[in-house]
């Protein structure tokens, strides 16, 4: 590929080609991101900016009462990331390998595995909210009929359980994504490698562990980065099911929910603090930004190597 050196005549065209995309991204992505930082350094009355207060919003975030909420939300986000990542990658890898090994019906099963990914999280959340309903839901009905007391629980109504039920729903919605990414990785493996290993008498387990699994490393990175970003921005699912305060008893609260309710309030209370909310936004921003940057750095490095 060769780029042209340009002449004076082409300049206005280049300007015209780039400007609309540039202005849009600048106005609605970059400007809000930069103002977020400045917002976190001011005190606020509702949406009115009052005084420059330096880092005092960050300090207040680390004190009562925000500290408790923030710690709880942060720990929940970490739990969501670790659990989702472990379950998603292992089940995703299993499904990918199962499809990879199929001789017929690959397209069909691929389409089924990926189907929940295209559904809106809002729809998914509402479906499962009804399914897990302790009074009229199908799960409790099955549990009653088959007399399975362990199944007959308020899955979404019990503080110790609700977060993991939510993670299960998130897993249901998203596992198809890692599965397809792993499958694409497996499809790109040169068949000659596998053939040579087979001729040398390697068993299927050995081929999987020694050849396929190591070659999946880039896919693991992508899934880790995307799960990291998704887990720390977790909003829709807990919002629909646990509400903005993370019911039951704050057990499903996340940083994004905390950030949202401090900015836009809740139905029953008006504790709005845009300064603190922006401080949380900045912290999340740095967190997620670093994750995404590391991920894309790694990927670009990989592309150069290939």
């Amino acid at each position: 590929m060769k780029k042209y050196s340009i002449n004076a005549y082409q300049k206005p065209w280049i300007f015209l080609f780039i400007t609309p995309a540039f202005i849009l991204t600048f106005t609605f992505t970059l400007v809000p991101a930069l103002t977020l930082l400045s917002y976190s350094l001011f005190s606020w009355e509702s949406f009115k900016r009052i005084d420059f207060v330096g880092i005092s919003n960050f300090e207040r975030l680390m004190q009562f009462p925000f500290r408790q909420d923030f710690t709880l939300a942060f720990v929940n986000n970490v739990k969501v990331f670790i659990t989702l990542f472990l379950v998603q990658t292992s089940v995703g890898l299993l499904l990918a390998y199962a499809i990879y090994r199929l001789k017929r019906g690959k397209k069909f099963f691929q389409a089924i595995v990926f189907l929940p990914v295209i559904l809106s999280l809002i729809i998914v959340a509402f479906i499962w909210k009804l399914i897990f309903d302790p009074l009229f839901g199908p799960i409790s009905a099955v549990a009653m009929q088959l007399d399975l007391p362990w199944l007959n629980q308020p899955w979404l109504g019990q503080p110790g359980l609700a977060l993991f039920t939510l993670i299960f729903i998130g897993f249901w919605r998203w596992v198809g994504f890692p599965a397809i990414v792993f499958l694409a990785g497996m499809n790109s493996i040169n068949d000659e490698f596998l053939e040579a290993a087979r001729i040398d008498g390697a068993s299927e387990g050995q081929i999987f562990r020694k050849i396929i699994f190591p070659l999946m490393a880039p896919s693991f990175t992508i899934i880790a980065v995307l799960t990291f970003i998704g887990a720390f921005e977790w909003f829709e699912l807990p919002y629909v099911i646990g509400g903005v305060t993370g019911q039951p008893g704050g057990s499903t609260t996340t940083m994004a929910l905390l950030f949202y309710r401090l900015a836009f309030g809740t139905v029953d209370s008006a504790t709005v603090d845009v300064g603190i909310s922006s401080a949380i936004g900045v912290i999340l921003f740095i967190f997620v930004g670093i994750g995404a940057a590391l991920g894309s750095y790694y990927l670009r490095k990989r592309e150069i190597q290939q």
Binding site: A21, T25, S120, G281
Partner: protein, 284 residues
Amino acid sequence: MKSENGFNLRFAHYGTETLLKGALIVNALGVFLPLLFMINSSFRTSADLFTSPLRFASKFDLSNYKLVFTEGNFVSYFWNSFVVTFFATTIVIIFGSSAAYALARYQFRLNGAIYLFFLAGLLIPAKLALVPLFIQMKNMGLLDSRVGLILVYAAGAMPAAVFIFTGFIRALPADLDNAARIDGAKEYQVFARVMLPLIVPVTGIVGIYSAIPIWNDFLLPLVFIRDTSKMTIMQGISVFFGEYGADWGALFAGLTMAALPLVVLYVILSGKFIKGLTAGATKG
């Protein structure tokens, strides 16, 4: 596999085979059962659902759907979602491809800087700048406006589109546009007549990559739209749940309707969907 333990190997082989196929079947059941439950329940009355959640619908009763469309504003929600998704995606495709063309084909002073700018845009988690964006939209008079939503969505999807298009255009031979230039084509003609037809395949990928998350989004309308007549379908379904929370038949009909358009499209175009939505995470 003609080793001494050939039998064992073969046996293990069939065991793995069964296990893997079993996993796919369990997964398929896991995917379909909740959706079938939803569809089945949408044809039943709430009273019937509450007495026995698991029975098949005895008849093809559409009264829940009637309620969704007459009382639930679903026509207007669908229309708003369609308008917002369509225009935002169109803007992304037109301006994203033209910017990518300029970045991929012309060597000018700011080329690298602008490329980095879009890279930064790709890494910014836009959701987190919701508060400043809200205030900015308020000042611009873009709250409670579909145009506002369209602009924010288009901006959000733009960096990824520029990247996908740039990568694709760079791989196309430059002789194509030079030949057109020698034939006297102006720069926009080179773009419109030579480049656009060539990037059609990747346009589908960019379109799906941009449009599906916009159609499915809930957060931005939740914050920016208050006026019922401008709400999108995902926001509408949550309003519907608030109003008809006790009428489960209607809720399932509403969910089925809200899910239907994408599922139908997916059944027809599943390969394109998978390719489009995993663009960036997989190569090729």
